[in-house]
């Protein structure tokens, strides 16, 4: 039985005391996870910041994140994800003039409002102006 795979972009903050610990190495080796570092930087206050794409089996991923938290590294997900509740959207069109990227735009044929998540930059501008609050922020 194949297990569920997960892949997420995460932001890690390493406190000064942990900067020289082989944390990422253990994450890979002990938990069988794959990574792709998108950004790594030592901040002026000697803290480490790393943005990476971390993937692997769901179970391993969870264990890996637990391990990270125990070490004292703080973690957040990077990509905010905007979704539209399709059952709720009335296709009124109030969001069209709000969206800066045309991720929300009219479909000339049907008069419906298209939501193109590829174009969405998760600026969140459309969330509050939507009368039925169909645009949702997911982390």
């Amino acid at each position: 039985m194949s297990e569920k795979q997960v892949s997420k972009k995460i932001v890690l903050h390493f406190p000064k005391s942990l900067i020289n610990e082989p944390i990422v190495y253990r994450l890979i080796k002990d938990f069988n996870l794959k990574y792709n570092i998108l950004k790594a930087q030592i901040l002026p206050d000697q803290e480490g910041l790393m943005v990476m794409d971390l993937s692997g089996k769901e179970k391993d991923y969870k264990k890996g994140i637990d391990y990270l938290k125990k070490t004292g590294v703080s973690m957040q997900l990077l990509s905010k994800d905007i979704r539209r509740d399709e059952d709720s959207c009335t296709h009124c069109g109030a969001c069209i003039v709000i969206c800066p990227t045309e991720a929300l735009r009219p479909d000339k044929k049907t008069g419906k409002v298209i939501f193109d998540s590829e174009k969405c930059i998760a600026c969140e501008l459309c969330i509050d102006p939507c009368p039925v609050r169909a645009m949702e922020l997911h982390f």
Partner: protein, 394 residues
């Protein structure tokens, strides 16, 4: 050749009526002319699905034991008007809960109010009920708390004093800061233009002189069946009209009524207007009997022929100057962009066009199946010769 509503109903019962939507009628009139369309078509179905603030519900809860005369009632912490008999209340769509921050955190979000509560009732959700009273000999109880659903109520009637506005303003903002209105978020310096009418699908624009719609007209209301009770509040039939009788400003309105227990949450939605408040989006569809050529002609009207005033909501609207910046047609508004003062301004609708199309389609299907008969109006609405003037409070 004139037809009567009775004759059309006979055809509907026999499954012989010809029913088209407002859009199909416009096409037909363009192609074959008014004369032929008037003979061919019996009923034109219309639709609109937009925020209609002047809406609400009458609820009857039945009696507690011992009995109580409610003097104050809250549903999910939203106060309903209880100044009626012992266990009747009226709950308005724009009412807010008592602890809401409103616009103290500007622009307020208005996430839950009367409109949402009405939607939750239709969704059969459990609602917190709380009542207070002063106690009388016949109604001794002074407090009561429980949970209710729509099924627990004796009656739940929607009764909306002003719906289905015949035409409406297009709202813009000439100031240099964003404003938050019941017409949506308006960006500064003509950043956008918002409108709120289904245009040629709109019920009262298909019968602009109220020749067939009147007291007792059977309508699609919120997914169920309802009736026109009378003209609505602020009905102003003497508005300026074009040669076809179509008003160029907001004009006629309807008071409508229907049973909440028959309605569907698809067509009754609580809405939160950022920085403004809560409203209720309601689906309304009205069948227009094509009694003669004049009605056929008005049902054949296209969006190019219907215009509305562009109003500055940063100054002219709040200051009630009555000024408009000009007129635009619904075909321009629906194209996604209008030109104002030499600037291209993107447009947005608050009323759902796909919703209007769907309602006209549902109504058409129900009439064709013989499930929906036309109501014969017992009296017509006050028209352009009524002399009714829209008054202001001085």
């Amino acid at each position: 050749m004139a037809k009567t509503i009775k004759e059309i109903n006979e055809k509907i019962k026999k499954g012989k009526a010809v029913v088209v939507t407002a859009d199909e009628m416009t096409e037909l009139v363009k192609k074959e002319g008014v004369k032929k369309a008037a003979v061919k078509v019996d009923v034109v179905t219309t639709g609109t699905f937009g925020p209609m603030c002047s809406s609400g519900v009458f609820l009857n809860f039945g009696h507690t034991n011992p009995k109580m005369k409610f003097s104050k009632v809250w549903l999910n912490n939203i106060e309903a008007y209880a100044g009626l008999a012992a266990v009747d209340v009226y709950l308005g769509a724009t009412q807010m809960p008592e602890n809401d921050p409103l616009n103290r955190m500007y622009p307020g979000k208005f996430l839950y109010g009367g409109g949402h509560l009405i939607e939750d009732l239709i969704r059969k959700k459990k609602i917190d009920f709380r009542a207070e009273s002063y106690g009388t000999d016949c109604y001794p109880r002074k407090e009561f708390k429980t949970k209710i659903t729509l099924n627990d109520l004796n009656e739940a009637f929607m009764l909306n004093p002003r719906n289905a506005y015949q035409n409406y303003n297009c709202a813009v903002n000439l100031s240099d800061k964003t404003i938050y209105t019941y017409m949506g978020v308006l960006k500064p310096n003509l950043g956008n233009a918002n409108f709120c009418s289904a245009g040629h699908y709109s019920p009262l624009l298909n019968d602009p002189l109220y020749r067939t719609i009147g007291v007792g007209t059977r309508i699609f209301l919120g997914g169920g069946e309802g009736f026109v009770v009378s003209s609505g509040t602020q009905h102003s039939p003497c508005a300026k009209r074009n040669t076809k009788g179509i008003p160029e400003t907001p004009a006629g309105t309807l008071m409508v009524q229907g049973d909440l227990k028959m309605m569907s949450p698809e067509w009754v939605r609580g809405v939160s207007m950022l920085g403004y408040g809560v409203s209720l989006m309601i689906g309304i569809g009205i069948p227009i009997p094509v009694v003669d050529e004049e009605i056929a002609a008005s049902c054949g009207t296209s969006d190019e022929e219907i215009v509305c005033p562009v109003v500055d909501y940063s100054k002219d609207y709040p200051a009630a100057t009555g000024k408009s910046l000009g007129k635009v047609s619904y075909s321009m508004l629906k194209s996604g962009q209008i030109e104002l003062r030499g600037k291209k301004v993107p447009t947005a609708s608050l009323s759902s066009y796909p919703g209007a199309v769907k309602i006209a389609g549902i109504l058409k299907k129900n009439i064709l199946r013989g499930k929906f008969l036309l109501g014969e109006p017992q009296s017509l609405l006050p028209g352009p010769d009524s002399g009714i003037k829209f008054k202001s409070l001085k």
